[in-house]
Symmetry: C3
Subunit: 129 residues, 3 copies
C-alpha cells in the first residue's frame, strides 16, 4: 500500500516501463509516506485507441504518451496528495520524458481493515504494521 495502477499506451520498452514504475515508487516513498519495501504496482499497456482522454476544458494537449495513474491507499492527507501530483509530474518528465500535460492521477481511499499484504493476515489490524 499504496497499490498503484499505471495505464499507458503500448510502445515503450521493458526498461522504459520499469523506469516509469521506479520513478512513481520514488515519489510514493519521498512524499507519499510509503515505507521501505512498500511497493505494489500493476502496469497495463493498452493498444492505441484504448485510452481515451480529453482535457476537461483545461487546454491541455494530450498525446500518445498519456499516462493514467490510479492510487489505492489509506490515510494520506490533502497536502500529501498535492505533493505527490506535483512530484509525479516533475519527475516523470525529467526521468522518463512524460509530458506533464499527459499525466492524469486519481486517488481512491479505503481503511486499515481493507489491506492484506500476505499470509491472509490484515497486517494493519494485527499489529504487524
Amino acid at each position: 500500500m499504496p497499490l498503484v495502477r499505471i495505464d499507458i499506451q503500448e510502445g515503450r520498452s521493458p526498461a522504459e516501463l520499469r523506469l516509469i514504475a521506479d520513478t512513481v515508487q520514488d515519489v510514493m516513498r519521498d512524499v507519499f509516506a510509503a515505507p521501505q519495501g512498500d511497493r505494489y504496482q500493476i502496469i497495463t499497456e493498452h493498444p492505441v485507441g484504448h485510452i481515451i482522454v480529453e482535457d476537461s476544458g483545461l487546454g491541455f494537449e494530450r498525446t500518445a504518451g498519456v499516462t493514467v495513474i490510479q492510487i489505492f491507499q489509506q490515510g494520506r492527507s490533502t497536502s500529501q496528495k498535492q505533493a505527490a501530483y506535483g512530484q509525479l509530474a516533475k519527475r516523470l518528465e525529467a526521468v522518463c520524458g512524460i509530458r506533464p500535460e499527459d499525466l492524469i492521477v486519481s486517488v481512491i481511499s479505503n481503511k486499515h481493515a481493507d489491506w492484506s499484504f500476505g499470509l491472509g493476515r490484515a497486517q494493519f489490524l494485527d499489529g504487524d504494521l
Copy 2:
C-alpha cells in the same frame, strides 16, 4: 473525471470499441454532469473466460457481450447514478447492440483532492476547475 474503465470480451473491431466509448461518454455528459472535454476512459479487452459474471439470482442470461463499466468519480447524487445506469443500458443497446442484461455498472467515489488532470496540479483545489 469521471474516470471510466470499460472491461469487455475480445472480438469487437476498433470502430465498435470506439462507438461504445463514445456512447458511454455521451451518457456521462448528458446525465452524469461531465462538462465538455471531461473524458477519461480506459478500455480493456479480455480473452474468453477472463470475465466471469453470473446474475446475482436476478434471472439475467449473460452472454459473451457482457460489459463491465466501473466509474470512478466524485460528487454525483443517487438520482444521477440511477439516470446513468438507465441511459447506459438504453443507449448501449440502441447504438452498440449490447444487451441490457449484459451490462454491469459500478461507481466508486472519492473527493476533490483526489484528482489531478495534468501538470501535477490538483485542479479542483487550485481553482482551475
Copy 3:
C-alpha cells in the same frame, strides 16, 4: 457484487485460471456473504515485470506467482474482511498452489446506490435485491 479484479502473471493455463477464479468465488460465498449467483470477476494476466510487488518490510519472499486481488464491494464488516483474507490465502494455496506470501488483497467500498447488475436498474434501490 462483490466485483473482484484478479491480476496475475502470465503462464497459467485457462483451467488453472478458472480454478483460481472458482476458489476466490467460493470464499466470497462462504465467508464474504455473496449470495448464490453473485459473481463478478475480471482476470487480467500481465507479462513478467508488469506486476511489481515488494514486501512492506514484512519479510515475505515474493515470486512469479504473485497474485493481487482487488475487491470492490459494499457492506462487509471488518471480521468478514479478515475471514476472507484468511480463507483466500488458505484455499488458494491448497487448491491452486499459490503461496500465501504471494497473495495481496485490497478491498474498496462503495454504497447501495453504486451498483447496477443489469437492465440499467439500481437493484439495491429498486427492491430487486
